[in-house]
Structures are given as structure tokens and as C-alpha cells.
Amino acid sequence: MLKYTEKIQETAKRLLQDKQVDVFIAYGKGTVPMMNQPLLISSPDRVNQLYWDNFCGLNLCNYLTKRTGRVGIVANGCNSRNIVTHIIENQIKREQLYIVGIPCEGMIDHRAVTRAVNQKEILDIQQNGKTFTVKGVDFEETFAKEKFLQTNCAVCTHRNPVIYDELLGEQVEEQTGVSPYQDVEKVEAMDPEKKQGFFTRLIARCIRCYACRNACPLCYCPTCFVDESRPQWVGKSSDPTDTLTFHFLRAYHCAGRCTDCGACERVCPMGISMRQFTKKLNKDCQELFSWEAGLTLDQRPPLDVYRPDDYNDFIK
């Protein structure tokens, strides 16, 4: 993945110098291990700040919403699918964008790495293709990348960008035979009481910081329902009922739109398995509507389309 850094820098330089784009959005290297920072540059002199590695697990599409001018942006599989969704939902125009596609082999789960060294502080990380080595004050350990993928990356079947103007590397082989919904099936099998318990425990640590919502490119409402104050829809205290209301409503707003990019889960400061909320809806969309979000510009998402010939009875 590191090999992309140089290519991103070259491409950004060319695009900015040739004035093909006004700004370029990518990542810069973070100041702490396993953290990178979304970066916007408008001068070719700054391209050496651009960076790519196994920890680019946010969703840069988040920074495209209602942007004006011509924008260059790097996009791996899931980010490109969100760009498609953004275009369909009129948050950005295709002709504004120059999409620099990055075939992706998955991001590393920073929490899993820290867990593997028993929560000791990691001071340095070296990434060497299929392995990576972490160092701390009194330890050094090497791990296989494939065992430490973010849980969404481990079941991803769209690693290659679905939309791009230029691809920075050979397409990677897509994963086959993954079963992405085993955890959802377990929850589906629970009776209502157990389900309630499952989700109540899931959010027990939530501090309502809304990092999950804000990291998600789907959440671009000018005023989120939790921020509506006239009238107020949701309580603001740490009452679990309000917290659950927020999480369920947020998830339902993502139905048929979520690309399972995992940004919500990656950013949660409390380590909540955020994808448990959205995955069931992704599964339903796949089973009921044969729909996966963000694969094509030609189709409206299932929840904002009506077809007279719909085979479902309930809609007639």
C-alpha cells in the first residue's frame, strides 16, 4: 500500500500544475502511529505531504459534500462507492471530480493491533507488504496483515474502485466466498428481548460524541434530527433510550446507502462495533432488492425509487 504514496504525489502534482483540479484531497501522515489525517492541498508545492498506507480507513467522500470547483480525490473501493452515492444524491457533480482510484487490499484495524500487544503503547510501525512490525518501549512484534484487517475490509468484495478517472495500480483480485453477515444472522436469531439486550449492551459505552455520524459521508443533513431543537426529537442526556434512538435512527437513514466503509467503527473513541447497526440493513437491501450501494450511477437507491412493476405486494 505504501507504494501508492509516490504515485499519489506524482498524480496530484500533475493535476494541480496542469490546473485540471483546483484542490486535491487525500491523506497526510499522522503524528501518532496508525493515524492519518485527511488533507486538502491546492498548491503543487505541497504534494510531498500526501501519504498512503494501511491506515487510511476514514472516508474522504465526507469532504466532498457541496464542494464547489474542481476536486481531485483519491478513492479506494468503498470510498469510490460513496462518491457514486454522493453524485446520485446531488451532493457533488461527476464533472467536478477527478477520481484517482486506488485498488485496495484492506486497511489494518488499529484496535486489533493494540490489542495484540496487550494495550501497550505503540511508538512505531513499519509496514512491509504482507506483514507489519510494531515497536514500543520494551517490545517489537511482527504480524501478518491479513489477520489484522478492519472487520469490514475482511469481508469486502469491492476492493477496486467502481468509478475513477485514473487508476494508480493494477486491479486487485476481489475476495470471493466471504460470508459477511454471520454476526447479523446471530442477532436475527435472537428473540426481541435478547435483541434489545444486545443493542443496549452494544451502546453502553456511547458518550454521544457523534463521531460515527460525522465520519459518515451519508450524514450530510444541514441539521441532524438529534440537533433539531424546535421541536426537540431526542433527549440529550446519557439516558440509554435516547442513545439507542440516535443509533437506530442514524442507521435507518443509511439504509440502502451504506457501503460498509467502516469509518463509523474506526473513529468511535469508545470502540463500539458500530457496523452492527448498519449491516442488517445492508443485508436486507441485498436480499430484498438485490442492491448494494454505490455500484452504479444509473440506478436510484432502493428507498427513493418506485417502480409500477415492483414484484413486492406490499407496495401496490
Binding site: 492519518n36 469532504y63 484496535r111 463521531a211
Partner: protein
């Protein structure tokens, strides 16, 4: 009381005994991180941690706190009259609080307990809480307490301080409140010269590991408007998600929102933590929002901590260098960098 030495196992047993006199909050391993919780049979104190994910500020300043109750029932003669909610001000102890978090409570105190305003709930919670610090033998790479007036073994804000000497703790009483708590735990042996020296070396080693930066020395002499209008805010703010991670994990962020919640004919007035990162934070009743842009909100957070506070209290910055926001900001906005930029800034 002279400094005392006590074996760790013995200390843990004594800590259990303390539960009779105090509600004891200790660091507990909760999944991937440590967090302060009250001790009970199931929750065991675990002092092998660098710092807790959330600071223990919630013990004194709960995330949601009911302040008043009222009735809206017209038949009730006391309808529409606020009645103060009953509070529990029985003795509490936070055992294992890091010196940076105790320093942070001193900073927060300026807001809640000053000659102009005295917040009765914060003050009473604070007064009923005894802070037993655990010196920071292994500061994180993101820590910078010494750069902002603290230190890994600083005693400010603490009632007692523990030095971890391997299989033993050296315990130092600092205030009467701290001495009283230690007396309830029973005594260890007086610390001999070698233990005292060991503790001193431990503190010196830890202090040496901490960086001298970020610099804060010229923040005060800068003009507010120069910093406010500095050209770097757009760049600093670009990646920001405007989530509340930094403010909620911060031990020195004190802002709150007051909400009325009504069910049927009964209502509660509740105080909740709030965050200057949220658009709702400054939304006026008129619908106008003086900070309706992300860049304004990001600037506010840093200006408050590193300029407005500095000017108002003339005693350092509103930051104790715990490094939580540095480590857990989902987009890696690093207060150390922003602070350097502000401190270095020369207006044109």
C-alpha cells in the same frame, strides 16, 4: 504523616476495606481500555495502565446530572416550582487518578468555583471527593504535562500520591483529606531513605521522558484578534469532523447545556456535557448561529484553551497535557501542533 511503604497485595486488600467509608472509583479494565468505575465485587482495580480513555472528571461533574424536579400538574399546589433534586455528597475517593487529571480538575475549578460564581453541585461533589494520585512512571509519547505546568508526579490538586516501586507502593499524604483516607486504610511502614530515593529517581526518569514542547510562552503577549484572524485556521479545521471526541475525552473541558425533560406531568431539569464542536452549542433562540461554520468552532476550541483562558486567568493554559485528544482524535488534529502554530504566529 511520613511517607509510607506498603506491599501491593496488602494495599489492594486495604483498598477493598475503604469501600465501607467511601465510594471508591478506581481504574478498571473495560474491554480495550481502562476507565474509572466504582469498585464493587465484580469490578477489580487494575493499576497497570498508562491512562484511562475517559478522564475521571465525570465523578465530580457527571455527563448528565439532574439538578431540579418539578410538577406540571395544575392540581399540585407546588406546580411549576423547581425543587432541587436530592444529591449524594457522601465521601468518594478517586484512587489512581493521574497527576495530569488532578491538575485538570484544578483548572476546571477556576470555572466552577471562583469569586464571581460558585457552582453548588460541582463544588460539593469536589469537596466530598478525595483524590489519590498514581504517579506516572511511564508517560505516553503523546503526553506533554511538563510543557503546560504539570508533571508526572506533580501534587497539585491531589490529596495523596502513590509511587509505584515495583512490588510496593510508596504513599505520600498531601492534604488532611488525603491523610484521613490513608489513616482509614491502615498504616504501612514508614518509608526508609532508600525507598524515598527510589521514588525520587522514578519521578526524575519519568519527567525526563516528557517533551519540553509545545511552547506556550508567548501566547499571552499575542493579540487576541491577531490569533483569531490568523491564516492557519482553515487548514487546521479542514479534516475536523466536528465530533465531540476531543471535548468529551478532555479533562479540562467544562461546558454544559441545560435541558428540561418532561414525562406526563413531571419534569426534570438536567445538566449535560456539551461540546463547542456541535453547531447547536451556539444556536440562538432567534435561529442565528454565530458559529455556524466548522472553522469557527475549531478555532473556538483552541482559542479558548490557549488564549482566552490564558488571558483571563494569567496562569497557564486550559490544558493539562494528558494527550487524549492527540491520541483519539479520529482525524489526528494534534493540539501540540496547533499550540506551536499559535505560539509562533507573527501577524503580518
Amino acid at each position: 504523616m511520613a511517607d509510607e511503604i506498603i506491599g501491593k497485595e496488602e494495599w489492594m486488600k486495604a483498598l477493598e476495606g475503604l469501600k465501607n467509608a467511601y465510594t471508591v472509583f478506581v481504574p478498571v479494565r473495560d474491554g480495550d481500555f481502562h476507565t474509572f468505575m466504582s469498585m464493587n465485587g465484580e469490578r477489580v482495580a487494575d493499576f497497570k495502565y498508562q491512562n484511562t480513555r475517559l478522564s475521571p472528571k465525570a465523578v465530580i461533574y457527571p455527563r448528565s446530572e439532574r439538578l431540579f424536579e418539578y410538577s406540571l400538574d395544575p392540581a399540585d399546589p407546588k406546580a411549576h416550582i423547581l425543587k432541587e433534586s436530592e444529591k449524594d455528597y457522601s465521601p468518594r475517593a478517586i484512587v489512581g487518578i493521574r497527576p495530569c487529571d488532578a491538575h485538570a480538575l484544578e483548572i476546571v475549578k477556576r470555572n466552577f468555583d471562583n469569586p464571581e460564581y460558585r457552582d453548588p453541585w460541582w463544588v460539593q461533589h469536589s469537596e466530598s471527593t478525595t483524590l489519590v494520585g498514581l504517579g506516572c512512571s511511564e508517560p505516553c509519547s503523546t503526553c506533554f504535562c511538563t510543557a503546560v505546568g504539570g508533571g508526572p508526579f506533580h501534587e497539585q490538586g491531589l490529596d495523596a500520591l502513590i509511587y509505584d516501586l515495583g512490588d510496593r507502593f510508596l504513599i505520600k499524604g498531601i492534604t488532611d483529606k488525603g491523610e484521613a483516607l490513608l489513616a482509614k486504610m491502615g498504616h504501612g511502614k514508614p518509608a526508609d531513605a532508600s525507598a524515598l530515593q527510589e521514588a525520587e529517581e522514578l519521578a526524575a526518569r519519568a519527567t525526563k521522558r516528557l517533551p519540553a514542547s509545545p511552547s506556550i510562552d508567548t501566547l499571552r503577549e499575542k493579540k487576541i484578534n491577531d490569533l483569531f484572524n490568523a491564516p492557519f485556521w482553515e487548514e487546521v479545521a479542514f479534516p475536523c469532523l466536528n465530533c465531540g471526541t476531543c471535548t468529551y475525552l478532555c479533562p479540562t473541558c467544562w461546558c454544559f447545556d441545560i435541558q428540561d425533560e418532561v414525562l406526563g406531568k413531571a419534569g426534570d431539569r438536567i445538566r449535560n456535557w456539551d461540546s463547542c464542536m456541535f453547531p447547536l452549542f451556539t444556536l440562538h433562540g432567534s435561529g442565528h448561529n454565530p458559529r455556524d461554520k466548522k472553522v469557527q468552532r475549531v478555532r473556538q476550541r483552541f482559542m479558548h484553551k490557549l488564549k482566552y483562558y490564558v488571558d483571563k486567568y494569567a496562569d497557564g493554559v486550559q490544558c493539562s497535557g494528558c494527550g487524549r485528544c492527540v491520541r483519539y482524535c479520529p482525524v489526528n488534529i494534534d493540539i501540540r501542533d496547533v499550540c506551536e502554530r499559535m505560539n509562533d504566529y507573527q501577524s503580518a
